[in-house]
Symmetry: none
Subunit: 212 residues, 4 copies
DNA sequence: AATGAATGAGTTTTCATTCAT
DNA sequence: TATGAATGAAAACTCATTCAT
């Protein structure tokens, strides 16, 4: 299951991830990836079999390491359910920021009509894990009466994922629409992240607790 | 401003839109588009100049016709502000469903590092319109005290757009996660749309009115 | 023999001549020519039959009008043979300067392996006329003892044509090699022409009169 | 500086040189060149980067090896200045005959409005070398009083180059104008070369020594 | 007589992959 | 194990010409 990639393979994966994110899967050429990773062109076929398999390798490399730590975090008893939601939001945003490239690829691949069956399964399993994790969390909150009944978990997850992605993708537009173009980029990033977190927490609080 | 495309040009645009959505911009070849539209390959250069320009034409074709009707709808006096929000949500979902391909392309192009400056402007202008429209709406609700203060419009729009997109994109996963695989597709679609609309309306109600 | 070209045809010929000279026959496209002449693309095939025929038309247009005036000039009795040579040189240089484009095309077409049989004949006839004209002139000079015997007329003509062409083509190199780059272009042109004429006259004088 | 081309690259260069000479740069297709050199089409991009770069490679390949031997020849002390001029003429004609294709390309590229800046420099440097070499030679002759004063070296070189090129290019016309069409081609070639050499030597003798 | 639309064959270049070593 | 060389297929685009009107 857990592939062990050697140094050069990881090098290739990192570069490929960036180029796939920046130009799309078809827009990034094996040549460019090889050049970016300072390896011979033939190495990509040699190591991964094909360009498609390289994409899968990226998923295998990134997805393996993710959910576990969150699981542990959420298992802790002394934290309130709502705080766990907040932690999850923070966690998601941080993870997205640290894996921008991968998040973009993941989104891109979901948009397309996926010819690649392998990826569909990988993505489904990842979603399933999130779904189960959050289901448990919501159930916990509902049992204590903190959260309202009848919450569509799938749509709730889509809300978190979709809203966050969209915010992140639309960062530059946010800058312009809110006249923050003069702010230096690192300052803006910090401000933006703060606002996102606050906004999403308020939103989830509202969604989960406010009954019409 | 408003390009008038002839029958064959529209034919090409429709096919290109579908193929760009299904395979990405670089994944769809001019050859395939020409074949799909039953025109000679050279016609695409002849009519649009280049593949990139064809993409821009798709945007020009789709974006021109959109916001106007919504503007009129929201201008009506006898509808309550909250209902206008609901109308907007319905409108967005319907529009998305009727323009799936275009929505996917739009999202795809936002994900990539946009080399195409023309598109960035087109997308920005579209976002600006939505932003202004919703800003006015929210302000209206705030003035009457229905909506809470301090709402980040940009993030709110991102929430609508992102959540809806993500739901729509993840439809097939939704089906599997909620054990609806046996339901015929048209029935599922109807059910899904109903749930989305309901969910989003509740969500927006909560977001806009619930003060911590 | 003498085609009569209408206004639009002449327009096309002028533009084609320039573009063929600047980019070569294959480097200049019918599209560019049509655009440059502000006519419909189809007009070129319509008027001339094909791109190749257009090239022939340029030759027909340019060659028809040339030698006659020189013939008259050289027929005059009161001018000395050597002065006639000088007149011919001046005439050739002026003609070249006023028909740069055509001269370039003519040279270009001679360089290539000529697939176009029509052109070969046209060029041959033009050469034949020059040959005959100069033969008569030289014979005249030889009869009076002014010119030396045994002059290879073909090579002599090649010398005039080739040297002048080469000088003209290499103008910019001349400028740089002789450190005249700061001189304004019109001044340089005048100087260059003056030098060419003087040089060639001296040269021909030497060639024709100096016996080892 | 001096590129080292491998066997296949040289193969391509030789074929490209011929085809560029015969049909012009734009008239010769990469496909034809590849076919002529019995290599895969992609190899041309692979080896040279592009068609234009291939043209530059031809220049690099041909120009590197030329002037050196002439320099040595002219450096010899025991040969009279005039004889050096004769040697130079013989040398130039032989070189032209052995590099017909390249000479044609060189001329072609000078005729066109050169978009290719690289080539301009290459050609200029080559001209500069010839210019310097001949300048020294002429100065030598002038010092001994053999040659007349005030000789425009640039125009003199143009005369040699232009006249010789023009003669060579107009070979077939020469044949017809001098009724030598029945002579077998190899015999004609030999005769023609002999006549050219003799003619040019006489001409240069006259030009350099005959003062009006 | 004149032309906008259309076309098939052509262009150069790049692609992901495989081969020979 | 690793790689420079090589390749066939495909890419987007342009070509000169013709068609329908």
């Amino acid at each position: 299951m857990l592939h062990q990639y050697n140094e050069k393979q990881v090098q290739i994966i990192i570069v490929a991830e960036r180029l796939f994110a920046e130009h799309g899967f078809n827009g990034a050429s094996v040549r460019d990836i090889a050049h970016g990773a300072s390896v011979n062109i033939a190495m990509i076929s040699y190591y991964f079999g094909s360009k498609e398999k390289l994409l899968e390798a990226i998923f295998a490399y990134r997805i393996g390491t993710t959910t576990i730590q969150l699981e542990h975090l959420l298992a802790q008893k002394e934290i309130s359910t709502l705080n766990k939601i907040y932690i999850m939001i923070d966690h998601y945003i941080e993870k997205m920021q640290n894996n921008t490239h991968f998040f973009k690829i993941m989104l891109s691949e979901q948009i397309k009509d996926q010819e690649n069956k392998g990826l569909i399964e990988i993505i489904f399993n990842s979603k399933k894990k999130n779904f189960d994790l959050i289901s448990a969390l919501i159930a916990e909150g509902q049992k204590t009466g903190q959260f309202k009944k009848h919450i569509d978990i799938s749509l709730l997850v889509s809300t978190l994922v979709g809203a966050t992605n969209q915010m992140y993708i639309g960062q530059q537009y946010y800058k312009r629409l809110n006249q923050l173009e003069d702010m230096p980029d690192d300052k803006f990033q910090a401000l933006f992240k703060k606002r996102m977190k606050l906004y999403l927490k308020n939103m989830f609080n509202a969604i989960l607790t406010y009954e019409l």
